[in-house]
Amino acid sequence: MNKSTIEHLKILASLFLLLALTTAVAFVPLGSWNWIPNLVLSVLMTGLIILFFMRVRYSAPLIWLTSVAGFVWLSLLLFLIILDYISRPWPQ
């Protein structure tokens, strides 16, 4: 096994670990707030996949930038839409 395969194996192991963790977290009684740690863990797993399985760690800065662009843009959309919903109750 070469170095790269070992690295991939380590990443897979970490992913399994995080999967177990996120599943466990869902059972912790946090009211309805489990989704926040769950999503944070999903973002972590995504980061691992992007960096290693998709080789971004070894790619040019342009690829780094592109790989986060979609997520940044999506968060703009989410942020401004959610802003409307949480401030929806009108002044009485």
Partner: protein, 218 residues
């Protein structure tokens, strides 16, 4: 087995004159495409978050009907397939046809297993009358909002499965092409692009899993 590990000159498509330039461009192009995919799924994630915010109670009740262990199993299957795919891409880069085909087979089988598990889940939903539409039956505080949860569930996992299906077809196509050809592999970029696509499909699932299976697990 010397011919399996030969690095061969790539075929250059117009307007490229150097393999490295062609590779960089192809990969960058794929990454830009994945950006559009993020926003494509993003529209549905937005809908999910908005409705979860508006109908929290109903979403929690609907989440009860999801089998978290099936979701977890599927996540594990998909992660492993992502791993084998990443190795397959490495093999392709080395020009190692034997390992490429082995890893492609594994990836394909794992992908098919994922679809099978998902299909089983759809079947149970059908049996429990949780498929939105006329047959939908749900006892809870707000059946309409609960139906919304399942509409989103079917739409988003359905769209994800559609992407999986395309991926499987591509693996099959490239696999047969590699297996059938005795020429050295002259288009390694195809495999890398496919690898990126497959990894992206994994990533989508990493978000679907907590949002649909870990809402209110029992």
């Amino acid at each position: 087995m010397a011919d399996n590990v030969s690095t061969s000159p790539e075929v250059l498509n117009f307007p490229f004159e150097e393999p490295a330039h062609q590779r960089e461009t192809a990969l960058f192009g794929m990454w830009v495409f994945l950006v559009t995919e993020v926003l494509f799924f993003g529209g549905m994630f937005t809908a999910y978050l908005v409705y979860r915010y508006s109908h929290l109670q109903a979403f929690l009740e609907a989440g009860r009907h999801q089998e978290w262990y099936l979701g977890a199993l599927n996540t594990a299957v998909l992660m492993t397939s992502g791993f084998t795919m990443a190795l397959a891409v490495q093999a392709a880069r080395r020009g190692d046809r034997t390992w490429l085909l082995r890893l492609f087979t594994m990836t394909w089988l794992l992908g098919a297993a994922f679809l099978a598990i998902e299909g089983y889940e759809y079947h149970t939903k059908f049996v429990e009358h949780l498929v939105p539409g006329n047959g939908f039956a749900f006892t809870g505080s707000d059946p309409a909002a609960a139906q919304l949860f399942f509409v989103l569930y079917f739409t988003m996992t359905g769209m994800h499965m559609f992407h999986m299906f395309i991926g499987l077809m591509l693996i099959l196509f490239f696999g047969l092409w590699t297996a059938g050809s005795t020429r050295p592999m002259h288009k390694p970029n195809c495999f890398e692009v496919l690898g990126l696509y497959w990894a992206f499909v994994d990533i989508v699932w990493l978000f679907l899993y907590p949002l649909f299976y870990l809402v209110n697990p029992s």
